[in-house]
């Protein structure tokens, strides 16, 4: 299993340079602009890199070969979830360091609470997206999964926008804000729970899959 996680890291090696450039550009933006934060962008970049590892696996028929190795289908799926978590974790840490440095450099106050709450929101959002996306990819493959991801994200955004026009969510938001401290624990826990459920579904799909 460790071998497969290493493989995912080796696969992103080649586009690491372009990602560093993107990060630098965003860092400059965040130093100039207001309310713009690198720590959001980085986990999204991590997800994009993660998705690219799936594309490589599929494009070069690695999936059938992986089954022939002494790893087991369950561990093949597990390695992908672990890769995803490590990718996001590393991106988050780098994001926090850059944010910290840029705020110090631009002599602003480093408000850890604001940054963390933004970050937690991002991570929860990403876990939900991944948790839905991964089983779909295991079932239908990367290409269809990509289309479904687009459609899904648009549907959610559209739904939220429509709902917020129809109903007044101020009280809900206020209620959530009052839960501040609870959410700090609840969000990471629910992210983990969502990922675990998604993993179990993916394993069920993958155990039956033929290549």
């Amino acid at each position: 299993m460790k071998g497969l996680i290493k493989k995912d890291f080796l696969l992103i090696k080649s586009n690491l340079k372009s990602f560093i450039v993107i990060i630098l550009v965003f860092t400059l933006f965040s130093m100039k602009g207001e309310g713009f934060n690198v720590s959001f962008i980085l986990p999204f970049l991590a997800i994009m890199m993660f998705i690219s590892t799936f594309s490589w696996d599929e494009f070069n028929n690695f999936n059938a070969y992986a089954i022939t190795l002494p790893i087991g289908r369950r561990n093949i799926v597990k390695s992908k979830y672990i890769s995803a978590i490590i990718f996001i974790a590393i991106a988050t840490i780098i994001g926090l360091i850059i944010t910290y440095l840029t705020t110090i450099l631009s002599k602003n106050i480093f408000d850890i609470e604001v940054i963390l709450s933004n970050l937690f929101g991002t991570i929860l959002g990403l876990s939900i997206i991944l948790a839905i996306w991964l089983p779909i990819v295991y079932k239908f493959g990367v290409e269809k999964g990509r289309i479904m991801l687009f459609v899904g994200v648009f549907a959610i955004v559209f739904l939220c926008a429509t709902l917020s026009k129809l109903f007044d969510f101020t009280s809900l938001i206020n209620f959530l804000n009052s839960l501040d401290k609870v959410l700090f624990i609840a969000i990471p826990l629910s992210s983990i729970a969502i990922m675990v459920i998604s993993y179990l579904i993916s394993v069920r799909i993958y155990l039956k899959k033929e290549f």
Binding site: G3, L4, K7, N60, F62, Y65, T68, L69, G72, F211
Partner: protein, 285 residues
């Protein structure tokens, strides 16, 4: 342990194709050539052996261990080359080593490096910049570097030029020389098998039509050639199958020596695996 692989009542059904029911024993220490047309079921059989696809029914034992129960244990000792390229093309042989040493317990980096050097392959070159033959060599080196007892190879020589193909076949021969190791090797390039296979398994339309030692095939089967009007002189029960050409008949016969004596007026030719394959598939009964 006499057999490397034992297959019992194996069946795999698809909408438009069915493999089996197959019963097959693959003895240890030999090179077994799996031949057949494209779509005859070679890859389906190989994929079933590796659990890449799930058979509809039947039992597979490898090294006398049940494939379902001891899959990972078995796979530690199996080396595989699949018909399509299967490593991500942006990886280098060096990367493959980094990955594989954490996957196989017995992975031997030195051995892997030795194979690559023998093949003249650059460790830090990405696969996409390599020729098809070089990539195949990287795959073959990978399949050998954990010192497997069984190699399962799906069309390992297709797309290789004759020189490389010879190199590869030599490696396979070296691999089985200790009589413990087994190779199951599918191909439609039958001339490869004439050089190295000890035993031939011939699959047609999902069924095994022939499973014999190569030498026995070459010694016993023959092609009897006769002109269009003398076909009736041949005893019907001597004809396994035949093919009508423009000017003559080609008849597949068994027991070459006996037929030579019986039909003194006709020529009985040595058979090649290719002739045999074409006659059995295309011939009439």
């Amino acid at each position: 342990m006499k057999n490397a692989i034992e297959i019992n009542a194996l069946e795999k059904k698809y909408d438009n194709f069915k493999l089996g029911e197959l019963n097959l024993e693959i003895p240890r220490g030999l090179i077994i050539g799996l031949i057949g047309e494209n779509g005859a079921g070679k890859t389906t059989l190989i994929k079933s052996l590796l659990n890449i696809i799930k058979p509809s029914k039947g039992k597979i034992k490898i090294f006398n261990k049940d494939l379902k129960e001891m899959e990972l244990d078995i796979k530690e000792d199996v080396g595989v080359v699949l018909d399509n390229m299967f490593f991500q093309e942006i990886l280098t042989p060096h990367d493959i080593n980094t990955i594989m040493k954490d996957i196989y317990k017995n992975w031997d980096t030195t051995l892997f490096n030795t194979y690559l050097s023998e093949f003249g392959i650059n460790f830090n070159q990405t696969l996409k910049t390599m020729s098809k033959g070089m990539r195949k060599k990287v795959e073959i080196a990978t399949s050998l570097a954990h010192k497997p007892k069984l190699l399962i190879l799906d069309e390992p020589t297709s797309g290789l030029d004759p020189v490389v193909r010879n190199e590869v076949l030599e490696i396979f021969q070296k691999f089985v020389s200790d009589e413990e190791h087994t190779i199951l090797f599918s191909t439609h390039i039958t001339s490869d098998l004439e050089h190295i296979a000890d035993k031939i398994i011939f699959i047609d339309k999902g069924q095994i039509v022939l499973n014999e030692l190569r030498d026995e095939i070459i010694d016993n089967y023959g092609i009897l050639k006769c002109s269009l009007d003398s076909f009736d002189k041949i005893d019907k029960k001597d004809i396994i199958c035949y093919k009508k050409n423009k000017y003559d008949y080609e008849i597949l016969i068994y027991d070459k020596n006996k037929m030579n004596k019986k039909y003194k007026d006709f020529i009985v030719d040595r058979i090649t695996l290719e002739d045999l394959m074409i006659l059995i598939i295309k011939g009439e009964k």
